[in-house]
């Protein structure tokens, strides 16, 4: 029985959006399987972080891009109900098309009038095949896109890190390079836990600790940051 008035501590929504490269090159060396596996494995960790966070209600969505782009998971799904549907590969790397869909989701009309900085995670192994520059310029006209924590994970050695860095912004976080499945799992876990936590309810900060990011202070990746149950694909991409 409720013995005191009121309700839960007031929260703000936090939008967490995956931008996943599903071009045909993601098929080689099991990259798409590794990405599916890594995101699926990150979900319980994300749910744990959200469970212990009284300040945010986390919603997850996902955009996929190859020849064109579309919502992979369009509904803003509360993290506690989120499940991952495997991505398939086909076609080329139309990053610009994905950024246009993202822009549509981050307009002032679409976003709540009060929220936490959105977290956008771009995962790609290649080189954009459409006019991403114009799409990125248009995206960055949206105030919520400017405020967002933008993280890019380059999968394998053929990913164009310069372009991914453009997405993160000059002052933003450096591109993370995942050259094998184990590293990819670690980075996906890092963005799903440490970055999510930093954007919603910053943890204790140490004097002189190194952090990155402008509008959200994100702890640098610790060398000891690890995944307990790493997946076993050892191929180097």
């Amino acid at each position: 029985m409720k013995m005191r008035p009121g309700g839960e501590l007031a929260t703000r929504p936090l939008e967490f959006i995956w931008l996943a490269d599903c071009s045909i090159s993601m098929r080689t060396h099991g990259k798409i399987e590794a990405l599916n596996e890594a995101i699926r494995k990150s979900i319980p960790h994300m749910q744990e972080v959200a469970y212990e966070n009284p300040n945010a209600q986390v919603y997850i969505r996902s955009i996929k891009f190859s020849s064109g782009a579309s919502w992979h998971i369009e509904e803003r799904t509360p993290v506690e109900d989120f499940t991952w549907t495997d991505l398939d590969v086909q076609g080329v790397t139309d990053l610009g098309a994905a950024l246009r869909i993202l822009k549509g989701a981050l307009t002032v009309d679409q976003m709540s009038d009060r929220a936490l900085p959105p977290v956008i995670v771009l995962v790609s192994d290649g080189q954009p095949t459409d006019d991403y520059k114009e799409a990125l310029k248009e995206l960055m006209e949206e105030p919520w896109a400017v405020k967002a924590v933008k993280i890019a994970i380059a999968i394998g050695r053929s990913a164009n890190k310069r372009i991914l860095k453009e997405f993160c912004g000059e002052q933003g976080i450096d591109v993370l390079s995942a050259d094998n499945a184990e590293t990819l799992v670690q980075y996906i876990k890092w963005v799903s836990t440490v970055v999510l936590q930093a954007a919603s309810s910053p943890a204790s900060t140490a004097s002189g600790a190194q952090t990155m990011g402008i509008n959200v202070s994100i702890p640098i990746i610790d060398e000891d940051f690890e995944d307990i149950e790493t997946i076993s694909i050892e191929d180097v991409w």
């Binding site: 029985m1 409720k2 013995m3 005191r4 008035p5 009121g6 309700g7 839960e8 501590l9 007031a10 703000r12 469970y51 212990e52 966070n53 009284p54 300040n55 009038d113 009060r114 929220a115 936490l116 900085p117 105030p143 919520w144 405020k147 670690q186 309810s201 910053p202 943890a203 204790s204 900060t205 140490a206 004097s207 990011g213 402008i214 509008n215 959200v216 202070s217 702890p219 610790d222 060398e223 000891d224 690890e226 995944d227 307990i228 790493t230």
Partner: protein, 436 residues
């Protein structure tokens, strides 16, 4: 990359003793925590990552072990552990019993304690901070994650004590957790110290009593993107208390800050005044912050003032309002609340509701501020429906004198009828009952 230890692993400490790793409990920014079996006792082992397990950290832990724990509520470092073949180090501490909830559970209403239990937890927090500060130690890192409480009794446990340092240390350790840091620490003008601890303690007490942050009102509502610059402005540059009597610009907004609006009027004027002091003048001038001792005394007053309405819900008897002939209404059913029977004892007034308990704090001088031993309890009268009695649960016989001058002795297990004007000698202290 793997965990430092496996479940059920047996390791040898550098002193040659055997340590059984029972299971992994969790990992944080600084290291991992395991349940271990050591010399026949189940304990917790915090094991630092190589980067964080520095000599400086080791020396800090060593100092804490030497200084000893401020009281039993602190899960304090007990011994440093070095393991053969491992670069880093760890320390042993008591294991937290599983029946304790964390403050996040309270904020998310996953536990639903009574007002009495929440206030007891706040009293214990203030008391433990008083003892910590008396040793010239500073906690530095108040946050939801570092405190645990028992939802039925209000007993608390204080974890993550490895950031505790001497107050004057200005270089090492954590700065604190956003939302709990004092404005001068947010702005980088000061490192955590006892004064900033007092601000953080007040924030935590406000959160626990009001289920809301004291600086989040209209200004917070108007912030679209709640990022680091917004937090610095709200908690550092322009900290404005939501109920500042001289500045109404940051009042809570209905629909956004409903908990603050629901809880604030329920509490007594004395409690509200302490929050006003600490979050207005105290936000700008650390010397104006409410001390742990004052918090402890006024929170005990609040605990003593709990009045149970006919509907069964706890409310508070506000003597300040009563003096002005203003009667509170029940927050739940809106009935007017009339003063119940009350016991004036020492300098405190305890409202005697059915099941109200008197503790060592009330009846024994050496037990002041302790709420473990129940020495008396209000019980229903066996025959008269509208009457209740006070039952002696102590082994000290009480001497009771009624208004008409009749005297009798009340031994352990016996009760007397609660009536206006009755005087009681409880042994070490004397009390008198007022009714109506």
């Amino acid at each position: 990359m793997h965990r430092s230890f496996k479940d059920n692993q047996r390791v040898l400490t550098e002193s040659g003793k055997s340590l059984n790793i029972v299971k992994f409990l969790g990992a944080g920014g600084q290291g991992e925590v395991y349940e271990v079996l050591y010399e026949g006792r189940r304990l917790a082992l915090k094991w630092y990552f190589v980067q964080t397990g520095t000599d400086k950290q080791k020396s800090m832990i060593d100092k804490l072990i030497k200084s000893g724990k401020p009281d039993e509520r602190f899960l304090w470092p007990m011994a440093i552990v070095n393991v053969k073949g491992k670069k880093s180090f760890g320390y042993l501490m008591p294991l937290r019993p599983s029946q304790f909830s964390n403050i996040v559970d309270l904020m998310k209403r996953r536990v639903e304690p009574s007002f009495d239990a929440v206030i007891t937890a706040c009293v214990q927090l203030a008391d433990s901070f008083y003892k910590l500060h008396k040793m010239d130690l500073c906690y530095r890192d108040v946050s939801f994650g570092n405190f645990f409480f028992h939802a039925r009794t209000g007993d608390i446990l204080i974890c993550d004590n490895d950031n505790v340092t001497a107050s004057e240390i200005t270089t090492a350790g954590v700065l604190g957790t956003p939302r709990f840091m004092a404005p001068e620490v947010v702005l980088g003008k000061s490192k955590p110290n006892i004064s900033s601890d007092l601000f953080s303690l007040s924030i935590l007490i406000f959160y626990m009593l009001m289920m809301h942050h004291p600086l989040e009102g209209k200004m917070e509502k108007n912030i679209k993107c709640f990022d680091l610059p917004a937090m610095t402005k709200l908690y550092g540059e322009r900290p404005t208390f939501i109920y500042d009597p001289m500045n109404s610009s940051n009042r809570p907004v209905a629909g956004y800050h409903d908990n603050a609006i629901a809880f604030w009027p329920i509490y007594t004027e004395r409690i509200r005044q302490l929050f006003i002091q600490t979050f207005t003048k105290g936000a700008r001038m650390p010397s104006h912050r409410v001390s742990e001792k004052v918090w402890r005394d006024v929170l005990i007053e609040l605990k003593n003032s709990i009045t149970v309405c006919e509907c069964g819900m706890e409310n508070f008897y506000d003597i300040q309002k009563l003096k002005m002939n203003v009667h509170n209404r029940c927050w739940h059913c809106n009935r007017v609340l009339y003063p119940a029977s009350r016991l004036k004892i020492n300098n405190e007034v305890v409202i005697l509701n059915l099941n109200t308990k008197l503790y060592g704090h009330h009846l024994m001088k050496q037990e002041k501020y302790r709420f473990k031993k129940v020495l008396a309890e209000v019980v229903p009268h066996p025959k008269l429906a509208n009457y209740s009695g006070l039952k002696n649960l102590s082994h000290v016989p009480w001497r009771v004198t009624t208004k008409t001058g009749m005297q009798y002795s009340i031994d352990f297990g016996k009760s007397f009828t609660i009536e206006d004007g009755t005087k009681i000698e409880f042994g070490e202290v004397k009390g008198m009952i007022r009714k109506g």
